[in-house]
């Protein structure tokens, strides 16, 4: 039988690639998380993670940093995106692009620049490790918030806002009853762009706090370089679980949003 080319066969190399370098690695993480050095099944990594206060501290710390970073980025980025999407204040696309360009400069270079300037004004990692890390995180992730929020703001239904005004809403009500509900998909995707990467970030906290602030990413890195594979894998798996849960939550959320819109019409 002769091989006949069909377009669907083209997915085979990609599928193999995904199995080999996406699925297999994740299975390995799960494997190493629950085995000891000689390959026997064990809960050791699990127990030692949840009984070690320093590891739990790192988890709580990273969660706090992530939440705070997300909130600050949203607080700065939300009004910014709203204003940028308004033709009255911003007529050219170049300005929006300028907010995104920092993403294209090597982020280790950017972090280094931030550190030098922060040290200059007296917020060095030696004296204020938490503040320096926080500032660095906001600097790094603000562009990631601006972009999704901006695209949502462009799609705001202006007639609904006008209708709200005509029907007697004051400014605060227009904001809380019309603009915020309409921009929720943007807020969700912006938060996802910041929250997860912050938890697992390595370079920023390492450089800006001079090693004093340990986030989840630093912790995984450390246990790997100390060749504690079990510990590292377990934390990586925990990270995966957290990512999975938040994906499920936001997916449900956006689906509900869509259904709601459909049923309304």
């Amino acid at each position: 039988m002769r091989f006949r080319f069909q377009r669907k066969y083209l997915c085979i190399p990609y599928a193999l690639f995904l199995i080999l370098f996406v699925i297999l690695p994740i299975l390995m993480i799960v494997y190493y998380a629950f085995t000891d050095t000689s390959g026997n099944f064990t809960f050791e990594a699990f127990i030692s993670f949840f009984s070690s206060t320093s590891k739990l501290n790192v988890l709580v710390n990273s969660l706090m940093f992530s939440i705070l970073n997300t909130l600050i980025c949203l607080a700065i980025g939300y009004p910014l995106a709203y204003l940028l999407a308004n033709k009255k204040y911003n007529r050219n696309a170049v300005l929006v692009m300028l907010f995104v360009t920092p993403m294209w400069i090597n982020f280790v270079l950017r972090t280094w620049a931030t550190r030098d300037v922060l040290t200059w004004i007296g917020i060095s990692g030696g004296t204020h490790p938490y503040l320096a890390t926080m500032i660095g995180l906001v600097y790094n992730y603000l562009p990631f918030v601006v972009l999704p929020l901006y695209t949502t703001m462009l799609k705001l239904d202006q007639s609904q806002i006008e209708a709200a005004i005509n029907l007697g809403c004051n400014r605060v009500q227009v904001f809380t009853k019309s603009i915020i509900p309409q921009s929720i998909p943007g807020i969700v995707s912006a938060s996802m762009m910041v929250f997860m990467p912050t938890m697992s970030s390595y370079v920023i906290s390492d450089v800006l706090s001079e090693g004093k602030v340990t986030l989840f990413g630093n912790s995984i890195y450390l246990s790997f370089s100390n060749s504690q594979w079990g510990q590292g894998s377990f934390m990586a798996m925990l990270m995966l679980v957290i990512i999975g849960i938040s994906m499920l939550l936001t997916r449900n959320f956006t689906e509900k949003e869509d259904n709601g819109r459909v049923s309304k019409w």
Partner: protein
């Protein structure tokens, strides 16, 4: 009026604050002081001359660029072919691949890096019976990072595709391969190009995957491959940062701005062209 002034002030204030670190670094690239904040009053281009004489930086820069171009090319090829194949595969296969494709997109970079390293170590132990960390493992790491994004960029273009064009090509006697190359790929080109650009930027910016999966090779010879990210991270740690890096930052900044402006203009032009075409048709 007041509102407008306030709005503009806010926009430009945030913009300024975002650029302060880089602008300060650029300003200090014209002086040879060792510490930012202590301007020694001499305006000089010495750092720019030194930059090109610094072998470490040049090797790192060269590695970064070679790696970015090769990994983007491989990711683009793999991602595009994958997207086409998946789009025409049966429903079940498509759903499975689509979901798996989403994993590296949302996954934390450190988890990708760690898990890939495990695979490479085990492969080296049981399959190759040797250490396999090299340029190739690094390349695979970067392709895992960017191919899913190429896929996501090509997919919407496939959905917009006019299926009758491919069939027309077949009816007119083109072989499926030829029809694919001459008819489908040109129509997917915008998505492929944006996927390529995204891959380049992802590769240029990566630190963690590089740090985990690299081995000896490229311009670094027998030592571990240094990219800009890993090089800068290592000198920051040792607190012996060559001040020529300021000049490098300036040059990178300028090229990024130029590319960004060009891309914006190109996009605007495309938009206008689409608008004009639509105006003629309807």
């Amino acid at each position: 009026m007041v509102k407008k002034v306030l709005a503009k002030t806010y926009i430009y204030l945030v913009l300024l604050l975002m650029y302060v670190p880089i602008l300060v670094l650029i300003a200090y690239s014209f002086t040879t002081t060792s510490q930012i904040g202590q301007w020694n009053g001499i305006f000089t281009m010495k750092l720019y001359a030194d930059l090109f004489k610094n072998n470490d930086i040049m090797v790192a820069l060269g590695n970064t660029i070679i790696l970015a171009v090769i990994s983007a090319a491989v990711s683009t090829l793999l991602g595009t072919i994958g997207a086409i194949g998946t789009y025409y595969a049966n429903k079940k296969t498509r759903a499975v691949i689509e979901n798996i494709n989403q994993i590296p997109v949302v996954n934390a970079e450190i988890v990708i890096a760690l898990s890939l390293t495990f695979v490479f170590v085990v492969m080296g132990q049981y399959l190759f019976r040797a250490q396999i960390f090299s340029f190739w493992t690094l390349l695979i790491g970067h392709v895992v990072l960017s191919a899913p994004f190429v896929y996501l960029n090509v997919k919407p273009k496939l959905q917009q595709l006019d299926p009758s064009l491919y069939e027309a090509a077949l009816d007119l006697g083109a072989s499926p391969r030829r029809a694919l190359r001459k008819v489908m790929v040109p129509q997917l080109m915008p998505g492929i190009i944006s996927g390529f650009m995204l891959s380049i930027s992802l590769s240029l910016d990566d630190f963690i995957v590089t740090a985990f999966t690299r081995g000896p090779g490229l311009l670094s010879g027998n030592e571990s491959i240094q990219t800009l990210s890993t090089y800068i991270q290592s000198v920051i740690k040792k607190k012996s940062i060559p001040i020529e890096l300021r000049a490098l930052t300036t040059l990178i900044f300028i090229s990024v701005i130029i590319v960004a402006v060009l891309v914006t203009f190109y996009n605007n032009k495309q938009l206008h062209r689409i608008k004009r075409r639509k105006g003629r048709e309807y």
